[in-house]
Symmetry: C3
Subunit: 364 residues, 3 copies
C-alpha cells in the first residue's frame, strides 16, 4: 500500500563521505564522541537493513561498502532508487528547513519527481514570522498576512510550529493580549532577529495559525540537542488544546516519543487532536514495533498518522516507510495470533494510519 507521509523534509542529493552521511543518522549536531559512530544505533542498523537491497546489496551491508556502492551509482540514481522504493503516495513537506549539512535541499518539483508522490507543502510559522518586516504596532497583522500569503503561494495543506524547541509546550490558555504582542514585537524587531524565542510572540503565532483554519502540526517529543526534552512533553499543551477547541482546527502532535502515550491520550480525549508516529519509527529501528504498540494503546485508530520526518538522507524515507510497514505488520500479526482482532480489523487499522486518516484530515 502506498503511504501518505504527513510530515517530512527534502533531501540532499550529493556524494556523501562517511562523516557527512553519519552526521545525518543522529539527532545530534555535534561530532560523535571519540571511538563511537552513529551507525552503531538502532537507526544505523535499520539503514543497513532496508537500504542496501535498493542499491543491489544484501541486507546488513557494512557502512563503508554501502557508501562505496552509493557513490558508484551516483547520488542522483541512489536517491531516485531509495525514494521510489519508499512507496509514497503523498508527501507533506515542511519547507522550514532549506539546507542540511550546509547543502541545499532538493527543490520540491524534483523531489516530487524522485519520490513519484504528490507533494504538498507545510508552512513553518516561525520561519514566516522571522521574515516579516513591519513596525511593532503592525506586526500582529503583518504576521497574519504573511502567513496567509505564504500558505496561499505554497498551496499549503498545514502549518507547523517548532515552539517545543523555542520555549516549550506549556502554552497558557489565554491568547496573548495585542498590547503584549506589540510590546514583545518591539523587542524582537530591535534585536538581531536571529531566532524567535519570545514566548508571547510564539504563542501569538499559534493563535494566528488557528485563524488560518489549516491543521496545525506541532513538534513534540525528541529532536536535536536544542531541545529541553521535558518541556516538549505534549501533555503540557493541554490548556492550549482546550482553548483552541472551539476553533475546530486540527492539532497534530508530531513524534511525541518518549511521550507518545501522552500524545495518544490527548488524541483520544480531544476530538481535534491527532497523533503522529514519525521520527520515532525510523530512529528506533526494529523497536518501532514496540513503540507502535504503545501508541496504539490509547490512540484512536482514526487519529493516528504515518510520517517519516525524513530529512537530508533519502535513506530516511525508505527506512521510515519500510520499517513502519514491517513493524505494523509484525504488531498486528501478533495481535491476530493473540486472538485480539481479525485480519479485516488489522487491514482497516493499517489503511487508516497509513493513508486514509491523512487524506481525510488534509483533504488530499
Amino acid at each position: 500500500m502506498l503511504l501518505t507521509d504527513q510530515h517530512c523534509h527534502s533531501v540532499v542529493v550529493a556524494d556523501l563521505g562517511m562523516d557527512a552521511f553519519a552526521s545525518l543518522l543522529t539527532e545530534s549536531d555535534r561530532l560523535p564522541a571519540p571511538g563511537t559512530s552513529p551507525f552503531d544505533s538502532a537507526l544505523g542498523l535499520a539503514v543497513r537493513r532496508w537500504c542496501p537491497p535498493a542499491l543491489d546489496l544484501p541486507e546488513h551491508t557494512g557502512p563503508e561498502e554501502y557508501l562505496a556502492r552509493r557513490a558508484e551509482l551516483g547520488p542522483v540514481e541512489a536517491t531516485r532508487r531509495l525514494l521510489a522504493e519508499a512507496g509514497l503516495a503523498h508527501c507533506l513537506v515542511d519547507t522550514g528547513l532549506t539546507t542540511a549539512i550546509g547543502r541545499p535541499l532538493l527543490p520540491l518539483p524534483e523531489f516530487a519527481a524522485a519520490t513519484g508522490a504528490q507533494v504538498r507543502e507545510v508552512v513553518r510559522l516561525e520561519s514566516v514570522a522571522t521574515g516579516v518586516d513591519s513596525d511593532a504596532h503592525g506586526w500582529p497583522d503583518a504576521v497574519r498576512e504573511a502567513l496567509d500569503t505564504a500558505c496561499a503561494v505554497a498551496g499549503a495543506v498545514a502549518v507547523k510550529s517548532v515552539l517545543a524547541y523555542r520555549h516549550g509546550l506549556a502554552v497558557p490558555a489565554e491568547r496573548p493580549a495585542r498590547t503584549e504582542v506589540v510590546k514583545a514585537a518591539g523587542r524582537w524587531l530591535s534585536g538581531p532577529r536571529e531566532r524567535l524565542t519570545d514566548p508571547v510572540l510564539l504563542h501569538h503565532l499559534l493563535w494566528t495559525a488557528l485563524e488560518s483554519g489549516l491543521p496545525l502540526q506541532l513538534h513534540t517529543g525528541f529532536g536535536d540537542p536544542d531541545l529541553r526534552l521535558h518541556q516538549a512533553d505534549p501533555s503540557l499543551l493541554v490548556d492550549f488544546i482546550r482553548a483552541a477547541e472551539p476553533s475546530g482546527v486540527p492539532l497534530v502532535l508530531l513524534h511525541g516519543y518518549p511521550y507518545h502515550r501522552q500524545a495518544a491520550w490527548l488524541a483520544q480525549a480531544f476530538p481535534q487532536v491527532y497523533a503522529d508516529i514519525g521520527l520515532a519509527v525510523s530512529y528506533t529501528g526494529t523497536r518501532a514495533t514496540a513503540v507502535l504498540g504503545e501508541v496504539l494503546e490509547l490512540a484512536p485508530f482514526g487519529k493516528l498518522l504515518f510520517s517519516t520526518d525524513a530529512y537530508g538522507l533519502p535513506e530516511l524515507f525508505l527506512v521510515g516507510a519500510a520499517q513502519y510497514r514491517h513493524s505494523l505488520d509484525r504488531l498486528l500479526g501478533a495481535w491476530q495470533a493473540d486472538g485480539a482482532c481479525s485480519a479485516a480489523d488489522a487491514e482497516r487499522l493499517t489503511r487508516l494510519v497509513s493513508a486514509d486518516n491523512a487524506r481525510r484530515l488534509y483533504r488530499l
Copy 2:
C-alpha cells in the same frame, strides 16, 4: 478464579444506540472527530473480542451486529450475561458517580444481583464535601462528620479522592492550617458550590480521609479531558505520601497509566502505598499484556491490585476481567517459557493480584 474488583462504578441498563454505546468506549466526553469512531481503538477491539460470545455471537463481531443482538436480548438480559461472565467475587463500587450519558446507574443491590458478587462501597471525598452544609468556621468538623456518617451508612471499605482532576497531585507535605481551611471554606460556601477545586480544601479532605482510617484510593494517571495529565503523575504525591506514612493508612494509586512505572516504584518504596491496574487493562486491550509487564517490573506482587474501573457499560466489566485474565496468563506464560519463574510462582502472583491482596487490604 473469581476476581476482586477493587474499584468500579455501576452500569446503565438500557438499550443503547450506536452513538450512546460508542460514547462510553472512550475517556472523551466530546463527540468523536468527523469520520472516526471510538470502536476503532484498542478498547473497541477488546469489546468486540470478549463480549460477543456472552451474547452467543462469534468473537470480533462488528459493532452494528453486536448492538442488534444486544437489543434483541434486551438490556436486562444482556447486562446480566455480561456481568456474570466477568466472574467477580467482590466489587468495590465508587458511588461518586450516579449517572452515565444522562441515565441513572443501576442501584447497588440490583448491581450486586447481576454480578453475583459481594458489593462494597467506596465513598468519594469530594462528593461528600460538596454536600456539606455549614458555616465556614464549622466546615472542617462538618466535613469530617459527614465523611464518617457517609462511610458508616455505606459500610464503606475505602474512600476515594479525585484530586488529580481538580488540582493535580502535587500535594504539599504540610496539613493545611485550620485558619486557612476556614478561609477557603468561606470562599467556597459563598460561591456557586458547583465543583470543589480549591487546593486548600482538597488537601484538607485528604487529611480528613486519613483520620477515617480507611484505605484511601486516589485517581492517578489518565482519565477524561478534564485532566491535566502531567499533573496526575503519581510521583508528584511523594511529599504527601511521606507525611501520611505515620498514619499507617493505605494509599491506593488507581490506574497510574502512563505513569504506572512510577506508581510501582512508590508501591515498592513506601509500605503503605499500593498500585492498581484498572482502566489501563481494559482501555489498552491486547496491549494490557505489555502494560502489566511494565507494572510488575517494580511493584511488589503483594502490593498490586486488580480492578476494572468499569463505568456505564456492563461490557467494561467483562473486558476488564477477561482481558486481565488473558493478559496476565500470557505474560506469566512468557515468564515461565523464559525460565524466569515456576508455575507455582505464577499461580501465587496471580492469586495475590487477582484477589488476595485486596482481601487483605480491605478486610473482605
Copy 3:
C-alpha cells in the same frame, strides 16, 4: 564474556536471616507492609532463578531453603561463589556507602579477591564535601583539594553525584558565584552537617567535579524512598549538560529508569553524555529484556554501559550480570529473528555495552 561493572558497591559477608536478606531485596528502607514480602517481586524471582545453582540448588528454590543452604555453606563461601559466578573483569566501586543493614561492607582488597575482578574506585562528591573542615571563605578551595586528594589516594577512575536525592536534577546552566558558595558554606558549616542538601553547594560540587577531569557519574531515576522520583528525571539536567559540554568531561547517567528513554536521548544528543542500565536490569528481573530494548531505541551503542549497582548482597552481582547476559541475548536474538541485524552486529553491540565502552571511557 567477562563484564565491566561500571558502578557498584561492596557487599556484606554475613549469615543473613530472612528479614535482613529480604530488606536488601528492595529499594525501600522500611519494613514491608503486613502480609507482604520483598521476595514477591521481579527481583525476588530473579534471585531465586540465578543464585540457587551457584549454591548447588535448583533454579526457583524457595527463600527458606535458599537461605538455609547459604547458611550451611557459610557466608564466605557463598559470597565467593556468587561473586565469582558473576564473571566480572572490572568493578568500579562507589565507596560513598560503607555499611549495609548496619554492617560494614567488605573492604575493597577482599572484595577484589572474591570477585576475581580488577577493582577501581569511584569517589562520591557529597561524601568528600561533608568531611571537609574549613571556614566558609576557604570552603570552595578546600572542597576541590579534598576531592583531588580523595581521587589521588583512591586512584579513582570517576566521581559520582547523588544530587538527585538531595535536591533533584534541575541544575541551572550557570556555575554558582563564589560569593554565593561562600555564603551557603557558612550556613552549612554552622549547622549539624548531617546531610548536604543546599543546592548552591551541590551545584558547586558538580562544577568542582568537572575540574577533576574524571568522568562524572550521576544518579538518575529510581532509588530509595528519599527520592522525589520526578526530580530525578535525567532530562532535567539538560542545561547543566550544555554548560558542561566545553569541559569535555564525560557525564554518565546512572540507572535512569523509568526515564531511561530520556537518558538514551541525552546520550544521542550530547557527545559527552553516556547512559547506564544498572539497577534497572536486576530489579526488573525477566523484564530487563524489555527495558534494555527501550534503552537501545535511541542510545548509541557506543554510549551505553553495563553495571549492576549491586549493594550489600553478593546475589545482586550475580543477578545483575546473569540477567543482563540473558536479557541482552534474548533481545538480540529477537532482533536477528526479525531480520533487524546480523549475528556479527549483535556480537559487536554486546561487546561494546558489556565492556568495551567502559574500558574506553575510564581508560581501564
